[in-house]
């Protein structure tokens, strides 16, 4: 279970606090697949980063009863000056997994060919996100935080991500932020809308999408 209690986050701009998240309350359970909808700049990525523990909340509480992934995004967690294989071994070490196993898993999953042993900065954006997604799939988390990762892959890779996440759905929670209805339909069962710093939940995905479109 993951619980958010009165979560607030604000940034300082021009000396004044600018609230991004205002009193967000939520509980997520094992097996949930929640899509968080929001316009550009609504605070979706901020929410994901606070949930992942990268940034502390300004006030409020996050009770993490499960292991949380890092935000799976456009490959922010991947280091550019070392190879894909080196990245895999690094991830393996800090998450306490056997380095050789993670390396071969990612190599097979990301299908990078000989690029796997070249510096990541030589990758195309599609290859970059394939590596990033492969890395995150190599570690078993209870809760996956997805920041529109699949948007840049091709159809074949998007399907592969969907299958991999689907398979994990039985034992994991999925929180995904996006402003693309098609991605929401592919991955999520329920949705929440983040608007003006407040998070409202909707049991029905289509209803949520309709409300979001009308915003």
């Amino acid at each position: 279970m993951l619980e958010l209690r009165n979560l607030c986050k604000s940034y300082e701009t021009h000396g004044k606090p600018r609230p991004v998240l205002r009193n967000v309350n939520a509980t997520f359970w094992k097996g949930d697949a929640v899509g968080i909808l929001g316009r550009n700049g609504a605070g979706k990525s901020t929410l994901i980063r606070v949930l992942a523990g990268i940034e502390p909340p300004t006030s409020g509480e996050i009770i993490r009863g499960m292991s949380m992934s890092w935000p799976l995004g456009f490959g922010g967690a991947v280091h550019g000056s070392i190879t894909g294989a080196d990245n895999a071994r690094f991830i393996a070490r800090i998450y306490g997994k056997p380095a050789g196993w993670v390396e071969s898993f990612v190599e097979e999953f990301a299908e990078l060919g000989e690029y796997f042993r070249m510096p990541v900065k030589t990758y195309s954006s599609g290859m970059h996100s394939r590596l990033a997604f492969g890395l995150s799939m190599a570690i078993d988390f209870d809760c996956y935080l997805v920041d529109e990762i699949v948007a840049v892959g091709d159809a074949r890779f998007t399907e592969r991500c969907r299958v991999a996440l689907e398979e994990r759905r039985k034992r994991s929670t999925l929180l995904m932020v996006s402003h693309q209805p098609s991605l929401m339909r592919a991955f999520c069962t329920t949705a929440a809308i983040l608007n003006e710093g407040r998070l409202t939940f909707h049991e029905d995905l289509d209803q949520a999408l309709a409300i979001y479109e009308a915003l």
Binding site: E12, A52, G53, I54, E55, P56, R64, G65, S67, M68, W70, P71, G76, A77, V78, H79, G80, S81, I82, T83, D86, R89, F90, I91, R93, I94, Y95, G96, K97, P98, W101, V102, S104, F105, E108, F109, P119, M137, A138, I139, D140, A155, R156, E159, R160, V163, A164, E166, E167
Partner: protein, 292 residues
């Protein structure tokens, strides 16, 4: 349709059970004592992993940068030794000139490298902070430890080479390593303060830090001995903590042939105070440091 792969094409272990369990890093909520221990273990694992990664980025594939670690002190030591030899001047106490500058310059290189690169240390490692268990402090510790270790290894190789050619061998390597460790710890504390200062802008801090390291060249004590000055000047110089550390390093190289001046208590107080302040500053600045 361009042939979507079937579900079974997702890589699996032969028995389909996912990764084999290893000594797992627990992220649950055990008791307070166990949590402290688990936290410490995670920190050690992370520091080790970051050091491995830093080794790849610095020494890996196309990066020859670290050859300068050998060249700079050797060129400086060689040139100054040459000038001294041509003009016929020796060092007071008849110390070997090349050894003197090598054991001065190489630890100074450590000082400069840690201080100069501290402001951008977090920025350069931004991707790592996507992982909750990687803290700012871990990165600083890993980088500075690696800096200390590589400078010690480089110095060892150079002193070995020098010994082979000139038969001037270090007197006490352990004591010299202790001196270098003091410099590393001192600079680590300072680096924590500098990186905390980047909340006021990384570029501003770098513009201040770089001239500072140049201006401190004559003040660090890397290239002179306290004994060479009058007692009033000595007193002033001994206010500077690094002066004591370089004296310790030289004592490790030359042994009891000249008079050294240092106060271990004074140095220890500086190192502890700087590290404590540095950690407090980093904690205060933590949420406001921009690393992206």
């Amino acid at each position: 349709m361009d042939g979507y792969p079937p579900a079974s094409s997702v890589p699996q272990l032969p028995d389909g059970s996912g990764p084999p369990p290893l000594a797992s890093v627990s992220i649950g909520r055990p008791g307070p004592g166990a949590r402290l221990l688990a936290g410490l273990r995670i920190q050690l694992i992370v520091i080790g992993a970051v050091m491995m990664r830093e080794i790849h980025t610095r020494f890996g594939r196309h990066h020859m940068g670290y050859l300068w670690l050998f060249f700079e002190p050797m060129i400086l030591g060689g040139c100054i030794a040459g000038v001294h030899a041509l003009t016929g001047h020796g060092l007071p106490g008849g110390l070997d000139i090349a050894s003197f500058y090598i054991v001065g310059y190489t630890p100074y290189y450590l000082f400069r490298s840690i201080i100069n690169r501290s402001a951008s240390a977090l920025h350069a490692n931004a991707p790592l902070f996507y992982h909750r268990q990687v803290t700012f402090l871990d990165i600083m510790i890993a980088r500075n430890l690696l800096d200390g270790a590589s400078v010690m290894i480089a110095l060892l190789i150079m002193l070995g080479g020098l010994g082979a050619f000139t038969n001037h061998w270090p007197y006490d390597l352990v004591w010299m390593a202790f001196g270098i460790t003091l410099i590393m710890l001192f600079c680590h504390g300072l680096a924590l303060l500098i990186v905390s200062g980047t909340v006021y802008g990384t570029e501003t801090v770098e513009r201040l830090v770089h001239p500072f390291t140049y201006l401190t060249i004559p003040l660090t004590g890397a290239f002179y001995m306290v004994e060479w000055f009058s007692s009033e000047v000595q007193e002033l110089f001994l206010l500077i903590p690094t002066v004591h550390m370089f004296e310790i390093i030289r004592e490790g190289q030359f042994g009891p042939v000249v008079q050294y001046h240092y106060d271990l208590g004074y140095v220890a107080a500086w190192v502890m105070a700087l590290n404590l302040l540095g950690m407090l500053a980093l904690r205060a600045a933590k949420s406001r440091i921009e690393f992206n």
